[in-house]
Amino acid sequence: MPRDGLVRSVPALTLLAMLGPVLAGLWGTVLPALGHLPAAGETGLSGAPFARLLDWPGLPRAIWLSLGTGLAATLISLGIVALIVAGWWGTPAFRALERALSPLLSVPHAAAAFGLAFLIAPSGWIARVVSPALTGWDRPPDWLIVNDPWGLSLIAGLVAKEVPFLLLMTLAALGQSDGARSLRVAQALGYGRVTGWLKCVFPRVYAQIRLPVFVVLVFGMSVVDVAVILGPTTPATLSVQIVRWMNDPDLALRMTAAAGALLQLALVLGALCLWWLGERAAARLGRAAVLRGGRGWADPALRAGGLLAGAVSALAMLAGIAALFLWSVAGFWGFPDALPEAYSLRTWTRAAPGMADALADTALVALAATALALMLVLGCLEAEHRSGRALTRRGLWLIYLPLLLPQTAFLPGLQTLLLGIGADTGRAPVIAAHLVFVLPYVFLSLGDPWRAWDVRHGRIAAALGAGPWRVLWTVRLPMLLRPVLTAAAVGIAVSVGQYLPTLLIGGGRVATLTTEAVALASGGDRRAIGAYGVAQTAAALLPFAVALVVPTLVWRNRRGLHG
């Protein structure tokens, strides 16, 4: 029985591991924002940090940028995903797109952003391929594409990265929304494919992917690494500016940073409210459209548009990764040559020793954080199963909470806290910080397949005399090997891509492929960035390959378990 008690305590432990750092970090942010930072000789309450924040001339633009890029990227990603699924779900084209997009889910944001920047810059790969034959350019045009002041490149980078994420979330939701039959009924009534899907299935699907959509919105508004690479610089987005203030030698600016972090938090909450209002409006308009009964005259165009947008975003990512690789093996590569003059492995041999160290740290942190996350999630799910109490809506919100708060709002405070208890500058705190972000994703990707398992298997095993633990180890886990490995791969990919937690909590001593790549980005050396971007992508992709291959090998004589 004591072991059952252990299982029952797991949900509480999980919440502590996930929310403890978040709440502590927020507390560590609120105090300096209100003027209490003893290290800077400031105690008590004061409005000075906010006054300094308001005094920053870039603030209005930075606020609009954060709001605009976050909302636009979310809206566009959601629209593309809805059109792809509406127009092509169940067709060979859809399966091809799905196969192309799902590995892209694991590409770290920074690598994807570099790839895109190499592609779309006026001296980028696209311009090189078409020059000078089509354009007549022998030198690149002076066009502001990357780092444009409207954040369009930033939006494009976010969309390319979020479409795979939302598509996967939508696919998971589709399984539970009986979409195929509804669509068949709608089509029988004369509705076009896209219109029928949007009117009948989308509302049900959307209700299930709401939280992931919120995550995309929050991420888009507060991302740092992608915004540093693709975003505007005069001024930068609010989150980038917060990190700059955090890093200023003038201690008083850390209070400004804290005030900015609270503003960022308020902006995110405001944007979520705005989105919520948008949902109401869309629902009202949607109901009116349903009642009008239009059968969808624009269907062919919408279908084509969805496929085109999906294909472009997949191609952009793939070509971006290819460009990263090409730069990593390039000798001198001047404009407008479509390919490098010469190839060499010099970049790789130069980078190899440092890269091996970074890879070791990346792997250690990712494996440890993912293993912890898996244990906690499996414990939670098993506790849920044994107690018969399913996760409530409120519980789901709690799991999503670390993803719904801007990282810049609580990580700086967390760093101060960890220093205070002497647990800084090691891998353990970094692993704990990664766990905060890995746990929700592992939970989300494992939850549904776990619950979808037919409990009658367990009942049969129990009837044959197996206790709950034996059922877990010898029946349930082996049957769910593929989803468990996939969840682990998701966890590893999330950990590999983390930039701010590694940088702030690790104090620079924990150098992962991502922190090294972003550090190199500031130097603009495309060859080194290319090599690290490729390594980063490989580190995130490999676990997915393992998750794909291992169950097939282990269950080569159990066709039903290939899933």
């Binding site: 870039g58 002076d142 001024p235 440092g354 205070g420 800084d424 090691g426 500031s522 080194a528």
Partner: protein, 401 residues
């Protein structure tokens, strides 16, 4: 449970050791203490050439003195300063995360001011005897006296890199640079202030167009700021619309400009290292047609320093590394354009004959000016100018207004 145990172990390990600081004047004791230590050297990590040099220096001190060097690659030196500040805020007065920082003038001034540095140590290091204390600005950093709290390891001077295919002739003054830029819109830019090199460009412009550069040596509060800087803003108002991307975006820092030249997006860029162009041509980061020039009235110059935080747990090891960086061996390698192309801080007259010959035999490289072609070195203004000008620049040009 593993995690909790690790946290507990870490908490125990963080108890202050309270060992006495090593005394640099007793060098053999320093060497003994240093053996086995690991030095976390926080240095900007955006340049592959510098990273390789740091890795080489680490291997050499490991061979000779058993000191392990870990290069913590920063995107911004200020990150390291913040870290030390955070540690002091948390009461972590020993065993800090940082043992050595490649530091710049304003950060040095801030850290020295806040008593965050270990020292004085630099002038007690054995290799200090080779340093050119009279001819080079190694005892003051941006007019702030170093007082032995940081050790010099390279000399830097502003040069301009130009792609001779598009801009064949050197330009002799900042005014000439502006006129050329206006005649060739979109072909020149500079790193975005407050980036170090970007502000250096602003200072260089100010010094070159102002009549009275002497006033810049004193704190900004003692001068008529508006009267001194008005010509600079007038200069930039003319220049900015003619910049790359019309001044609506800027490269993040120095090396980012190299990529722009290589992509043929710009033809002219500022550099703080006379040998950088040659080194970059060697690695394929710049086209072979790039050369360098200095201004007729001279250009800004200063030294690169390393400093040791007050709470470092490996001060002896850090001093051994700092001393190695000032050795003829390391200085010769740093000056080799195929490696770094940094100017030496040493005085040739003080070196042993063999080392002097090795320096003389060094091929400066295709795009590097000879020492006598580098012209007059202008001193850095007081750091308060840098802060103020960077703030004003951001207000005027850096916020989309």
């Amino acid at each position: 449970m593993n995690l909790l145990r690790s946290l507990a172990v870490l908490a125990l390990a963080a108890q202050p050791a309270l060992a006495a600081d090593p005394d640099p004047s007793d060098w053999s004791a320093v060497l003994e203490e240093a053996r086995g230590q690991t030095v976390f050297w926080n240095a900007w990590g955006g340049s592959t050439a510098t990273n390789d040099f740091i890795a080489w220096a680490g291997r050499r001190v490991a061979e000779d003195h058993g000191v392990t060097v870990e290069h913590v690659k920063l995107t911004d030196t200020a990150d390291a300063v913040t870290r030390v500040l955070t540690e002091r805020q948390a009461g972590k007065d020993s065993g800090g995360a940082i043992d050595m920082i490649w530091i710049n003038g304003p950060n040095f001034a801030a850290m020295k001011d806040a008593d965050l540095l270990f020292g004085p140590f630099a002038e007690a290091l054995p290799n200090w005897s080779f340093v050119d204390v009279d001819g080079k600005t190694v005892r003051s950093d941006f007019t702030v006296p170093t007082d032995g709290y940081e050790a010099p390891w390279a000399m830097a001077q502003v040069v301009f890199m130009h792609d001779t295919e598009d801009l064949p002739e050197p330009l002799g003054s900042m005014a000439a640079i502006r006129d050329w830029a206006v005649a060739n819109p979109g072909r020149f830019t500079y790193p975005q202030p407050p980036d170090f090199l970007g502000v250096t460009f602003l200072k260089q412009a100010l010094i070159d167009i102002t009549q009275d550069a002497e006033v810049l040596q004193r704190p900004v509060t003692e001068a008529d700021y508006d009267a001194v800087t008005d010509p600079l803003w007038a200069y930039l108002d003319t220049l900015t619309p003619a910049l790359w991307r019309s001044g609506r975006a800027y490269p993040a820092n120095g090396p980012a400009q190299l990529q722009l030249i290589a992509d043929n997006e710009i033809d002219l860029a500022i550099s703080f290292s006379p040998g950088e162009a040659t080194a970059a041509i060697e690695t394929g980061q710049l086209p072979p047609s790039v050369r360098t020039f200095v201004l007729d009235r001279g250009t800004l110059g200063n030294a690169s320093f390393v400093a040791i935080p007050y709470n470092s747990g490996a001060k002896a090891g850090a001093m051994v590394l700092a001393n190695f960086l000032m050795s003829p061996e390391a200085q010769l390698r740093a000056q080799d354009p195929a490696v770094l192309g940094y100017g030496t801080v040493l005085d040739m007259d003080r070196l042993p004959e063999a080392d002097r010959a090795a320096f003389a035999a060094l091929d400066q490289g295709i795009a590097t000016l000879a020492p006598d072609e580098l012209g007059q070195v202008q001193p850095e203004p007081h750091p308060s100018w840098m802060t103020r000008i960077a703030e004003d620049w951001t207000r005027r040009y850096g916020t989309g207004q």
